[in-house]
Symmetry: C2
Subunit: 351 residues, 2 copies
DNA sequence: CTGAAAGCGCTTACAG
DNA sequence: CTGAAAGCGCTTACAG
């Protein structure tokens, strides 16, 4: 039986700056200065010490440095979106941007459970992270994070931003506007809107974008927005409703509040013998690729640029930590339209 | 203009053990012993010091402790699955289990980019994490992590496990067997299999489970497994193929290699006027809820228990770190069948 | 029972 | 140009 005991992988005591100093025949302080490019010394000495350190595979202990610098170069990411639709792109964007700057991020999965929030928050305090990014799944809900009790800078992503705080959300209205404007530019004039529950802040914003694009094009508002679940089922039912109408009452395009709704809607239209996009163009929201590419035809949809959201949140948090002045308030980062075939564009973007 | 400068959030210098000692009128060493329940002292003194610390909101600096204990109570999670299908449940399971034990986990998003791997690995070394969990998206691919160069214990999750290492994967064969056995128990006798590309290790294992369940039931193998993309499109096309056959050649059940295939297949069957599950029962694999609940009818499917996978990997890594003997090799953790309606069971599980 | 000392691994004024 | 000393915040033998 092959048994891997812990010490099999234990390394022969990490090499420290003391080892390097010893090997180079200098004091620890000189070694430190050589390695950190500080102080004055002959280029040769410096180079010699650096070479030796390199050769010995010396890597400074980040915790020791953190202790003297009062800066850990770590961040905490609190998220209640265990499901993963939003968190993973945000986390990936944040993590890579931070990695490039030498800072690492702790992942804290809180399930909207106050006890877990407390536990994780304490861990982050104890580990002396330099700051916190709090990431949610709804732009209109504030997470149960007791900010006043948190002794460090915080930024919010894809979540409500408490007054005076700093937040990042996708520009839902702008994204919706771009989607509808694109349909207009393609000659559609009867553009309906099928979307999620009114209780979601994003629903109101996307509706506003839709209305603004229509009014800018001097187009009549084609019926009220249809609001329901964020589900394929609701999209499907809405599609059936459209199909049941007399042709003269039917839209020639539908802007959907998310990709699942768009998917269900397209299924219903197709089943009823309508052609997408020829008879009715459809645009979604989310660019959830697994849906967007599986619809027939592939779905034109709004991408919320979540990775970029995570990146920017991190970069701003770093500024905050560095004491740079940062304006309070919520930023709405641009979405971008991902053109595929469901909107009937002549030139689907290549990618 | 409201400007939030960094120092606005900066706290009035963290309180340290020195502050506590001062307030309690004892030495730092005594304070330390009181707070850590070590050494001997009157209960009153101990209690008094603890109360003062509590009142002052003292939280020991984890990095300082790590320095003396040579243990950071942090882990690194390297993943190349930025897409998020597998990583997030694994990460959430790992993170919560670890949080309960006072250890925090760094998220490292590597995009199969060797440069990013190096960068993140160095960061983890520098931060002196106690161990690493390496998580992938295919059980038959080893990640580009240069293990020998890593100076700490490692476990692999949902990825190939190098010889002599320790790994955790779902029991694909067992899961497949359970799915097919369930169909058999429901009286199905002509059970086909539609699955992903042969190049995936999981495909072979799931096929094996299918065959084993059939042979155990003394059922003939109903045609060869149909292998194609992991996509709805392939499922859809496979469904069309089935439908085109004369009724006597049609299966009465299909076990699908993943939920996307199952979804596409059901769509094709339904479109052709067949009833699921009455005419043909369908079972999927993954329990990707967004698909499994959107099919009509909702999909019975195999859940890979990814959260549990992450949890176990973490717990085992902790054992390894503690120097406990751990058997080398790959563990296959049980999957569990999630019964919904597409298999025709009389009693869909409530949940 | 309590405290002074040394140390974890590093950095930074400050003398020489 | 180089090194001794003090310190970051904590813990742990070791004396008293």
């Amino acid at each position: 039986m092959a048994v891997l005991s812990g010490d099999r992988t234990e390394v022969a005591a990490r090499i420290t700056i003391k080892d390097v100093a010893l090997a180079a025949n200098v004091s620890v302080s000189t070694a430190s200065k050589a390695l950190n490019e500080r102080g004055r010394m002959t280029v040769e000495t410096r180079k010699r010490i650096q070479d030796i350190a390199q050769k010995m595979g010396f890597r400074p202990n980040a915790m020791a440095r953190a202790l003297v610098h009062q800066r850990s170069f770590t961040l905490g990411l609190l998220t209640n979106d265990t499901y993963g639709r939003f968190t993973l792109p945000i986390a990936a964007g944040l993590s890579s941007a931070m990695a490039d700057r030498g800072v690492s991020v702790f992942l804290c999965a809180i399930d909207d459970d106050p006890e877990r929030v407390r536990l994780n928050l304490e861990a982050m305090e104890d580990k002396r992270v330099d700051g916190l990014v709090v990431s949610g799944k709804r732009i209109d809900r504030v997470l149960p994070v007791d900010l006043p009790a948190v002794h460090m800078p915080v930024v919010y992503v894809n979540a409500a931003c408490p007054p005076g705080a700093i937040g990042f959300v996708p520009d839902d209205e702008g994204g919706a506007h771009a989607a509808v404007a694109h349909l207009v530019s393609l000659g559609r004039t009867r553009i309906a809107h099928v979307t999620g529950p009114r209780s979601f802040g994003a629903v109101g914003l996307r509706e506003k974008g839709w209305l603004r694009a229509l009014s800018e094009a001097a187009l009549p508002c084609f019926g009220a927005a249809l609001s329901g679940e964020w589900s394929e089922r609701f999209g499907y039912e809405s599609g059936q409703l459209l199909v049941a109408k007399p042709v003269s009452d039917r839209p020639d395009a539908v802007f959907c509040g998310n990709d699942q709704i768009a998917r269900g809607l397209i299924d219903a239209l197709t089943l009823a013998g309508l052609r997408v996009p020829e008879d009715i163009a459809v645009v979604g929201f989310d660019n959830w690729e697994i849906f967007a590419t599986a619809t027939r035809p592939p779905l034109t949809t709004v991408d919320m640029a979540l990775k970029e959201l995570g990146r920017q949140a991190g970069v701003t948090l770093l500024d905050l930590i560095d004491g740079k002045p940062v304006e309070a308030g919520q930023r709405r980062l641009p979405c971008r339209l991902k053109v595929r075939q469901s909107c009937g564009s002549e030139e689907p973007s290549t990618e």
